[in-house]
Amino acid sequence: MKLIIAIIKPFKLDEVREALTEIGVAGMTVTEVKGFGRQKGQTEIYRGAEYSTNMVPKIKIEIVCASDLADRVVEAIQAAANTGAIGDGKIFVLDVGQAVRIRTGETDQTAL
């Protein structure tokens, strides 16, 4: 099993979700996050008081899937979340040791 973590632009969430549903991903966890990379933050000015925000709002998606599906998930996210501009985000793939469905106690592949 693989854990795929993708940090994407917030407005790309719907497209990514649709692309993943098409290749059979049955669920995901989405979190609103902030962070920075190459993309610079914004400058806010309130009556002359300037604040530069280094952190940019992003969406973090977490998906656990069978190992053989992982490459297609990564491709789907990469294609759907791409705008060609800096700040499109990153995708990380990790190995997962165990999975348990809380309701039934099913484990690993059947728990996904």
Partner: protein, 451 residues
């Protein structure tokens, strides 16, 4: 005579109702003809209804207008403390007003600084007693005048809070209000608006309170902020307004309510009120746009907060000029006040480094001064103002300047006294722990938002 009715003293002349004389004649009449109570003044139902409406409009400026305008500008953790301080301090001012405020400002007799205390606890005020308007023989019920002026006292002391939010104790705000109203607001209101008041007698123009309310509150706010000190983290930490949406709503309520404030200050539903009304539209509209223009000229984006700030700066500036200017004079006055206030809060304040948290001085103090002096210009008949042919701008400006400077000094000294008494009694400032955690939890045991 007609010209004299334009002088701003808001019914300066409660005492004069007996004599049915014009406000500016108050002193002479009082000296010469104390028994000239010929015929009872007429109380017009239209005037009375308009003044009751105006009074409620000014209340709406405070709660929820000012509470939302100021509340939106602070951080989430201090929203309730701002709304609570404004509401409670205004409520306290209302009670103080009926106990000794009204008589100290508008009671019978007294001297050039304060009135007599014969109307303490509203002694002698009944549904049958009246307050003079600016038209001979026309009056409004005295209770309506008491209430109308009560709301002015309440909003003025609430305005001062704008500079000290996010760090002053609730109890300190209440003690400050008690002292400040007594030694600053009531005397200044008397001096500017009462028939025997120092500035009224000189012919100072202050239609609805540019000096009494805005210079007074703005300067007091600056002094209070200087004594209280900066907020922890100012100016390096992120202190952006938590909800400009609420500030926008508050701005709208202030603008609407300000028609009660300005047009109501005519004390009648007549042409003078109509002039104040159109000026309260156009000066404000001009100021809102010119603030955004000033932002653009300085390389920034025209902002929502800029628009709101311009609206308030325009309202402040047109307050003394409301019934004392033609519409086009008011448009220019609004534009100038807006641009100068923009530089005061965006450039001068950061350079000087004081922490006037919500720019009570930058907008009300500076805007009030421009309005006070500007009124001495736009009153000119050749600029479309209501001044007579024999009117002298030089003399008027001199009177306006004297009034403004005296008020500045009076407010500064009085505020220092009031703040140090509040410090003695309450400690003035919340602990650093409470300040960091927020005054909502620390002072009131609540959060504004429980998602």
């Amino acid at each position: 005579m007609k010209l004299l009715t334009k002088f701003s003293g808001t019914a300066a002349v409660l005492g004069m109702t007996l004599f049915a004389a014009l406000p500016a004649w108050a002193q002479d009449a009082a000296l010469q003809a104390p028994a000239a109570a010929a015929s009872a003044p007429t109380v017009d139902k239209g005037d009375t209804a308009w003044m009751m409406t105006s009074t409620i409009l000014v209340l709406m400026m405070i709660v929820p207008g000012l509470a939302l305008f100021y509340g939106g500008l602070v951080r989430t953790k201090n929203m309730l403390s701002v709304m609570t301080q404004i509401g409670a301090i205004a409520a306290f001012a209302m009670l103080i007003w009926v106990m000794w405020g009204y008589t100290e400002a508008f009671g019978d007799g007294g001297n050039a600084i304060i009135a007599g205390f014969g109307k303490a606890f509203l002694a002698g005020v009944t549904p049958a007693t009246t307050a003079a308007t600016f038209t001979e023989g026309v009056a409004i019920p005295e209770y309506v005048f008491v209430c109308f002026q009560m709301t002015f006292a309440a909003i003025t002391v609430a305005l001062v809070l704008g500079s000290v939010v996010e760090r002053m104790k609730f109890s300190a705000a209440m003690v400050f209000a008690l002292i400040w109203l007594t030694i600053v607001y009531f005397p200044v209101a008397h001096m500017v608006w009462a028939g025997n008041g120092l500035f009224f007698a000189k012919g100072a123009l202050d239609f609805a309170g540019g000096t009494v309310v805005h210079i007074n509150a703005g300067v007091s706010a600056l002094v209070a902020a200087l004594i209280l000190g900066k907020r922890i983290g100012y100016p390096t930490e992120y202190m952006a307004p938590h909800s400009l949406t609420m500030t926008g709503i508050g701005t709208g309520l202030l603008w609407v309510g300000w028609f009660g404030f300005n047009a109501g200050s005519a004390l009648e539903a007549n042409g003078s009120a109509a002039l104040a009304m159109i000026n309260t539209f156009v000066a404000t509209a001009s100021a809102g746009l010119f603030w955004m223009l000033a932002e653009r000229v300085n390389g920034h984006k025209g902002s929502a907060l800029g628009f709101c700030s311009g609206i308030v700066a325009g309202l402040v500036a047109v307050t003394p000029a409301a019934g004392n200017s033609g519409p086009f004079g008011a448009i220019v006055l609004g534009a100038i006040a807006s641009i100068i206030c923009y530089y005061a809060v965006s450039v001068v304040k950061p350079k000087l480094g004081y922490d006037d948290a919500l720019d009570a001085f930058g907008v009300h103090g500076i805007g009030g001064m421009i309005g006070a002096l500007g009124t001495g210009v736009v009153y000119a008949p050749y600029l479309g103002g209501p001044g007579g042919a024999d009117w002298s701008m030089g003399h008027q400006l001199w009177v306006q300047l004297q009034t403004a400077v005296t008020t500045i000094v009076w407010a500064a000294v009085g505020t220092a006294i009031a703040i140090y008494i509040a410090k003695l009694v309450t400690g003035l400032r919340v602990s650093p722990e409470v300040e960091r955690e927020g005054l909502d939890l620390g002072e009131h045991g609540e959060r504004a938002y429980n998602y």
